[in-house]
């Protein structure tokens, strides 16, 4: 009887541990920050990618005019998490220009 109880408790513990060891829920695929990618308005008929990605105003983007080296974080060969600049179909000249020319800052709640 004792052995049975131990065995049962053991099985229950194992079952509980097994359940506990399962991730409670698979995390959902991350949602890209909408302000960091091309703005697309599904309700409109504008072409996808018709508008340039905007700049999320975060601590480091508070005054984008003061940032002189956007490519320090966004350059193709950098290793951080910042989106990397890829100007597909645009001339190399774009890599030497002021990013704020095209990329407008957006407040955090947008």
């Amino acid at each position: 009887m004792k052995r049975f109880l131990f065995l049962s408790l053991g099985l229950l513990a194992l079952l509980a541990l097994t359940i506990a060891c399962q991730p409670t829920k698979m995390p959902p695929p991350p949602t890209p920050q909408p302000t960091a990618i091309a703005v697309f308005e599904p309700t409109s008929s504008f072409a996808a990618g018709a508008f340039p990605p905007t700049i999320p105003i975060r601590q480091w983007h508070d005054n984008a005019w003061l940032i002189t080296d956007c490519l320090g974080c966004h350059g193709k060969d950098t290793t951080g998490e910042a989106p990397k600049v890829v100007h597909k179909d645009l001339p190399d000249l774009y890599l030497n220009v002021n990013c704020r020319t095209c990329h407008v800052p957006q407040p955090p709640d947008q």
């Binding site: 506990a20 995390p27 008929s45 072409a47 990618g49 597909k88 001339p91 774009y94 095209c102 947008q110």
Partner: protein
């Protein structure tokens, strides 16, 4: 997008596996925030067809490609094949597709009845407009009506309006908002070289070693030009930038020498630079001998030519040390700037900081002086270049002569031969064009307020917001009174002007009509019609044709003067080409067919095979030195001949330095200057329509220097009230050391009553150019209420 999902999925899967092995859960809240990953700018594949066109904002004239699907504009991108803007384009342009389809576009004519604008038919509205103008002309004469146009209208539209009013109705009351931004540059070029418009081009950016930027926030007002300068500097470390601006704009970041004069006192700097250049023998005596004369205005107002020595004697009153006392810039910096300038090749670029001044023409003259005494002229990278704020201020208004003192293509009202030439070309009776200048912008709106102007049509511009001392002129346009003048506003959107008008006509805008924009470097570009205007919108051209026909029918304009000659903008282009023949603006080689194929052409261009002119006045480049009235067979390639000048020479002017009209004083101790931000354009009636642009700069603000903020007890975010002798605004504070202490800065774009900064600005104007002094006026600053 797929990359992001895949990479993050892998990341999350790995984390889940580790969590399982560790025997613990992976709570969602502990997961690192997902980061956006590298994304390609997606190609805009939804567009079925692409067409070349031109941006409609500033005078840079960016080449764009427009994506069209099923008759709708779905995307815009820079045109990499464009010869001067090379695929670059700014945010304002990129958001044009949203701006065009803004739901508040005007779609029906409106007539004011019992104080309210109500919908009407075109027939009702145009009949009323024609009747009101006819009544005014019959009872009070042709000078009781006026046209107020814009550097945003097509060249053909401005030319047509000019033709109708000056040669048809018989009034020179034709002016437009280029008077508010460009007139001093026109005055500078004209008084120095005899004719208007830059002789260099944007190509010079690729050759200049020194950039001399004066009163130009190029980074925000002309971002694509700034990008080209940045590109030049990044590839050529010896390139140097001098900036003259009392406000530390974003240009300051890349400046080698920064001169921050007390607002309104920069003329002393330019004279002091000239002094240093001659004193240190950095001038170019050979160039001066061949191409320049020195001239002053004596006490009787007469022009008197003087020598180089006399000029230097005059400059002794402006040594760097003396200049420093007045302008507040250290003498050492002035000397440094002078030496850099003389080294060259030097390209000067300036904008409203120089033009919107009561000494605007003088200031322009002094920049030209520096180029002339150093010979920084007519060589690659060496040129004085005025930037323009509107897409068609140059080609549309300056060149077509659509200002109250001008006639097309370098002609002036005051010249009897010029009047006769235009009367003949236009088919107007001899003597129809009056010999006296019409009313300039400020005087025109003053006359409206005094009920001397009885009827006015305003096209493609927003004087209800853009005029200085706005309260006064808003009353002139809209204040109810007995016999109030009749005001028509033609626009694509509701504005602070349409709200004052008696009739509002819905206009087709950019890409909804075909016509020519002429930008700052003399490049004329054809904008095709690609989409339809919403509702009942019509082009300004069609509205003016309709208006002219009705005036012909009422006997105000000679029968057939307009209606028998033109149906389309292409029709009138033929006459415009002819009007330019044998002038310094000759573009007879710029046929419509050619313009459809090419990405703009720079005049002068005398035949279909000429590629257009990079540098005027230079043999081998300027075709007018090979053929026509200015031809000179004795010149060798590269030789310069300023054929529009006084005896083929430019004038170095001895101009006095003058104070601004309203310096700070005891009662109004701060100087207010206005300007722009990158994301908005002029009165923002368009750019506020793109949600992204609006959110980027949603609210008016005032920059206050930290030392002033401390004294005033205000901090960033506080509301402050700015009061001048004319009006007040209350806006949010940004405490930042961009301005000099004692100076505040407010952008010009916001139209809400509390933020409409032109209620505060001054309408004093330059007596030579009649351009108002938006850049300097006195205000008091106090804490305001939210």
């Amino acid at each position: 997008m797929n990359d992001i999902t895949r990479r993050d999925f892998i990341k999350w899967s790995a984390m889940a596996a580790v969590a399982t092995m560790a025997g613990c859960s992976a709570p969602q809240q502990s997961a690192p925030a997902p980061q956006a990953q590298p994304t390609a700018r997606p190609t805009v594949e939804a567009a079925k067809e692409w067409h070349k066109s031109v941006c409609r904002f500033c005078g840079t004239g960016c080449g764009v490609q427009l994506g069209i699907t099923d008759g709708k504009l779905v995307a815009l991108r820079g045109d990499p094949e464009h010869p001067t803007t090379k695929g670059l384009v700014c945010a304002k342009s990129l958001f044009l597709p949203k701006i065009v389809y803004s739901p508040d576009r005007l779609t029906k004519p409106q007539i004011r009845k019992a104080g309210k604008l109500v919908d009407a038919t075109w027939e009702e509205a145009m009949t009323l407009v024609a009747d009101k103008f006819t009544d005014a002309i019959k009872t009070s004469g042709p000078d009781s009506v006026a046209y107020y146009g814009s550097g945003q209208a097509l060249a053909e539209e401005s030319y047509l309006a000019n033709r109708l009013f000056k040669g048809g109705i018989g009034t020179n009351n034709v002016d437009g908002n280029p008077r508010l931004c460009m007139a001093s540059a026109v005055g500078g070029y004209t008084t120095t070289y005899g004719k208007d418009e830059p002789m260099g081009s944007y190509d010079d950016i690729d050759h200049a070693r020194t950039f001399f930027l004066i009163g130009s926030n190029t980074a925000e007002a002309h971002p694509v030009i700034f990008d080209r300068i940045l590109d030049r500097k990044s590839k050529n470390p010896n390139v140097q930038i001098i900036l003259v601006d009392p406000r530390k704009t974003p240009v300051r970041r890349v400046t080698d020498v920064y001169l921050d004069p007390i607002p309104g006192y920069d003329l002393d700097i330019f004279h002091a630079m000239a002094y240093v250049i001659i004193q240190e023998k950095l001038h170019d005596p050979a160039f001066i001998e061949k191409h320049a004369i020195f001239r002053k205005v004596d006490a009787d107002g007469k022009n008197v030519d003087v020598t180089l020595d006399e000029y230097f004697k005059f400059l002794e009153a402006f040594t760097p040390e003396k200049a420093a006392e007045r302008c507040g810039v250290p003498a050492t910096k002035i000397r440094q700037a002078a030496r850099m300038f003389a080294q060259g090749p030097t390209m000067s670029l300036w904008c409203m900081g120089l033009n919107q001044r009561t000494v605007g023409v003088f200031a322009n003259n002094l920049i030209h002086n520096l180029h002339l005494i150093t010979g920084q002229f007519g060589k690659p990278g060496a040129t004085p270049f005025s930037l323009t704020g509107q897409p068609n201020a140059c080609g549309g208004v300056r060149d077509t002569g659509s200002l109250s003192h001008l006639l097309p293509y370098g002609r002036v009202i005051a010249n009897a031969d010029h009047r006769a030439q235009m009367e003949k070309l236009w088919g107007a009776p001899a003597g129809k064009i009056k010999p006296a200048d019409g009313l300039n912008t400020i005087d025109m709106f003053k006359a409206l307020g005094e009920d001397k102007i009885k009827a006015m049509i305003i096209i493609t511009t927003n004087p209800g917001q853009s005029l200085p001392n706005a309260n006064k002129y808003r009353d002139a346009m809209g204040k109810d009174r007995p016999n109030k003048p009749f005001v028509v506003s033609v626009d694509a959107y509701p504005t602070r002007t349409t709200e004052l008008a008696d009739v509002v006509l819905p206009a087709a805008m950019w890409s909804e009509k075909e016509g020519v924009f002429g930008m700052s470097e003399r490049r004329y570009q054809l904008m095709p019609k690609l989409i339809n205007a919403p509702g009942e919108g019509r082009s300004d051209f069609d509205i003016l044709l309709d208006f002219a026909k009705r005036l012909e029918d009422r006997g105000i304009v000679e029968k057939g003067y307009i209606s028998s000659k033109f149906k389309t903008t292409a029709d009138i282009w033929l006459e415009m080409m002819e009007a330019s023949r044998n002038t310094a603006y000759d573009f007879t080689g710029m046929s419509r067919e050619r313009m459809k194929k090419e990405r703009g052409i720079r005049w002068p261009v005398l035949d279909e095979t000429h590629p257009g002119t990079n540098r005027r006045f230079v043999k081998g480049d300027d075709p007018l030195l090979d053929k026509g009235p200015f031809a000179d067979a004795n010149l060798k390639p590269g030789d310069i001949k300023i054929y529009t000048g006084a005896n083929n020479k430019a004038i170095v002017w001895l101009r006095p330095s003058k104070d601004p009209a309203e310096p700070a004083d005891k009662d109004f101790p701060f100087v207010l200057s206005t300007g722009r931000v990158l994301e908005h354009w002029h009165t923002a009636t368009m750019t506020m329509k793109a949600p992204e642009l609006r959110r980027a700069q949603p609210e008016a603000y005032c920059e206050v220097h930290p030392l002033d903020a401390e004294k005033l007890g205000i901090k960033t975010g506080d509301m402050i009230k700015l009061t001048s002798r004319r009006g007040d605004v209350t806006v949010r504070t940004r405490v930042i050391d961009t301005t000099r202490p004692g100076m505040v800065f407010v952008p010009m774009h916001w139209y809400e009553d509390n933020a409409l900064i032109n209620k505060v600005t001054i309408d004093a104007y330059d007596p030579a150019s009649r351009q108002p002094e938006f850049k300097v006026c006195a205000v008091k600053v106090e804490k305001g209420k939210a």
